[in-house]
């Protein structure tokens, strides 16, 4: 039970923070504030790198230079090509599978009893520990990486979807029935739109977890892609390159989450756009 509470907390936290940035998206000074915040961050990084806090900690400017170096010699592109395939595949599969499974469990008692406990355990478990096992079974290829992504991404997506569907607004269900909605119409026109904020909170957490999964897989087992690039530069003590790689994947992950939120507001909850 503690597990499910955790999901709620995370979902709620993310939902409220997303609300805040949605308010910011009203295109006035918040943009400026955000730029200031980024500049401040870069400044502190630069100072920390110059002190230096550690010989392995590059300055911000060195990291930026290293980033363009990696872009120019093509190593970043090659690494992302290898990392993005399992990541995108795993995330897309988790999203479809997770939302479908969660919806079914939310609607159908037997499914709930069969499936939900598994995901509660999975979410509680330090799933990263399964990754070597996955490699053992599926080798070190694309399948293993995709599975690593899914193991991390799926539980939170399933559990959030399940909870959202479970807690759908009862009076809207009655309304739909009174206006002669069929079961399919009820799911498509009431349950999913009503559940979408919590489902999307789950998707955002799932996508973030998918990034963790793919990097872990590449660091732990399959020395390819971004994980390999990080390990490689560390072994050569090219710390600026290493940090540039790490920063690039963090940036990509952030951009993906922002995009997901944009889709949510655009497609599912137009009323929250101006709110």
């Amino acid at each position: 039970m503690a597990v499910s509470i955790r999901t709620d907390g995370e979902a709620a936290g993310l939902a409220s923070s997303s609300n805040r940035s949605a308010t910011g998206a009203s295109w006035d000074q918040p943009i400026l504030l955000r730029l200031v915040s980024i500049a401040l961050f870069a400044g502190i990084w630069e100072v920390a790198g110059r002190i230096p806090v550690s010989f392995a900690f590059p300055t911000f400017s060195d990291t930026v230079v290293a980033f363009f170096g990696l872009l120019a010699d093509g190593s970043l592109a090659t690494a992302y090509l290898s990392t993005l395939q399992p990541l995108v595949l795993g995330v897309v599969l988790s999203a479809f599978l997770g939302v479908s499974l969660g919806t079914i469990c939310g609607l159908w008692r037997t499914g709930e009893w069969l499936v939900i406990p598994v995901f509660i355990v999975l979410q509680a478990a330090p799933v990263a520990a399964f990754i070597p096992m996955v490699t053992f079974v599926y080798g070190i290829g694309m399948t293993a990486k995709t599975l690593a992504v899914m193991i991390l991404a799926l539980p939170v997506i399933v559990l959030n979807t399940y909870k959202a569907v479970r807690n759908v607004n009862e009076s809207l269900l009655v309304m739909c029935r009174s206006f002669l909605g069929t079961n399919w119409q009820t799911v498509a026109k009431i349950i999913l739109p009503d559940a979408s904020p919590v489902i999307f909170a789950g998707l955002r957490l799932g996508v973030a977890a998918g990034f963790v999964g793919v990097v872990l897989a590449e660091l732990l087992i399959t020395p390819t892609g971004i994980g390999d690039l990080i390990t490689f530069h560390r072994s050569r003590a090219d710390y600026a390159e290493m940090y540039a790689t790490i920063a690039s994947i963090i940036a990509l992950s952030t951009l993906t989450l922002v995009f997901l939120q944009w889709v949510e507001v655009r497609v599912f909850r137009p009323e929250s756009r101006g709110a």
Partner: protein
């Protein structure tokens, strides 16, 4: 009794000439709470009938049984002579809590009943626009529910029920979440709608004044178990100024009469 027709006792009321909804022997028990016992009622076509009674006497339960949203333990409901036990196109419900989809505009909410029926988009939006204007919300077509006041939201709920062109409109305390000014305005609109639309309204309320003001017929329910205790037909001329009606002798007498009848159930 002046112009007020009064029939006493729980015995079945003689059927009026043309009743659109016939309720026979309806009973309903929740666990060990007997919510309704042996309800026999006829609702005359084209009239506004109120179900009035103290809290917990089973008004909502009866209305939802007529709507087909709750199954009765015993008895039957017939609409236009046909027995029903599920929601149908001849009835439309207006919900106490509005039940609007927050992610949909006023137009889509109003057109939702038609959307579920598969009416094409252009046609249903045309119909929705007409009823949005009818309930006085023209100009708000593209707003979302959270941008509207409580009174306006309930107008959306009313327009949605009107747009499916049902014969019977079922309203469960539609004004309880609406402020007093809006409530007055809304009551006047309802009287006007009833004259224009030629629909049958079944209206749940626990306000005696409201019931007397808008109803052709008032069914008083007594609690534990819910039964019909009295049927009153206030014959009030509503053509004039609404303020005058509120000072009308018959109006005041009827309100007082009902209050005398209900007082025994209130501690």
């Amino acid at each position: 009794m002046g112009a007020t027709a009064l029939r006493n006792g729980p015995s079945p009321v003689p059927a009026p000439i043309d009743s659109i909804v016939e309720v026979r022997g309806i009973s309903k028990t929740y666990g060990n709470v007997e919510a309704l016992r042996g309800i026999d009622l006829d609702f005359p076509r084209g009239k506004l009938t109120s179900l009035l009674g103290p809290s917990g006497c089973g008004k909502t339960t009866l209305l939802k049984i007529i709507a087909g949203l709750i199954r009765a333990d015993g008895g039957t409901v017939a609409i236009n002579g046909k027995r029903v036990s599920a929601p149908g196109p001849e009835r439309a419900f207006v919900f106490q809590d509005f039940a609007l989809m927050p992610w949909a505009t006023v137009t889509r909410n109003v057109a939702f009943g038609l959307e579920l029926r598969g009416t094409n988009k252009a046609e249903r939006e045309e119909i929705a626009r007409r009823y949005i204007a009818e309930v006085g919300l023209a100009g708000f077509e593209d707003k979302y529910p959270h941008e509207l006041s409580g009174g306006m939201r309930q107008r959306v709920g009313l327009a949605r029920a009107l747009s499916v062109d049902a014969d019977v409109l079922l309203l469960d305390e539609p004004f309880s979440a609406v402020d007093e000014q809006n409530r007055r305005k809304f009551q006047e609109d309802l009287i006007r709608l009833r004259t224009n639309q030629n629909k049958t309204f079944i209206f749940v309320t626990h306000s005696i004044e409201e019931a007397v003001y808008i109803s052709d017929r008032i069914v008083l329910l007594s609690p534990r178990p819910g039964r019909v205790s009295q049927i009153i037909e206030p014959e009030i001329d509503r053509s004039g100024d609404p303020e005058r009606i509120h000072r009308d002798r018959h109006y005041l007498d009827t309100v007082d009469e009902i209050w005398q009848g209900l007082k025994q159930y209130v501690e």
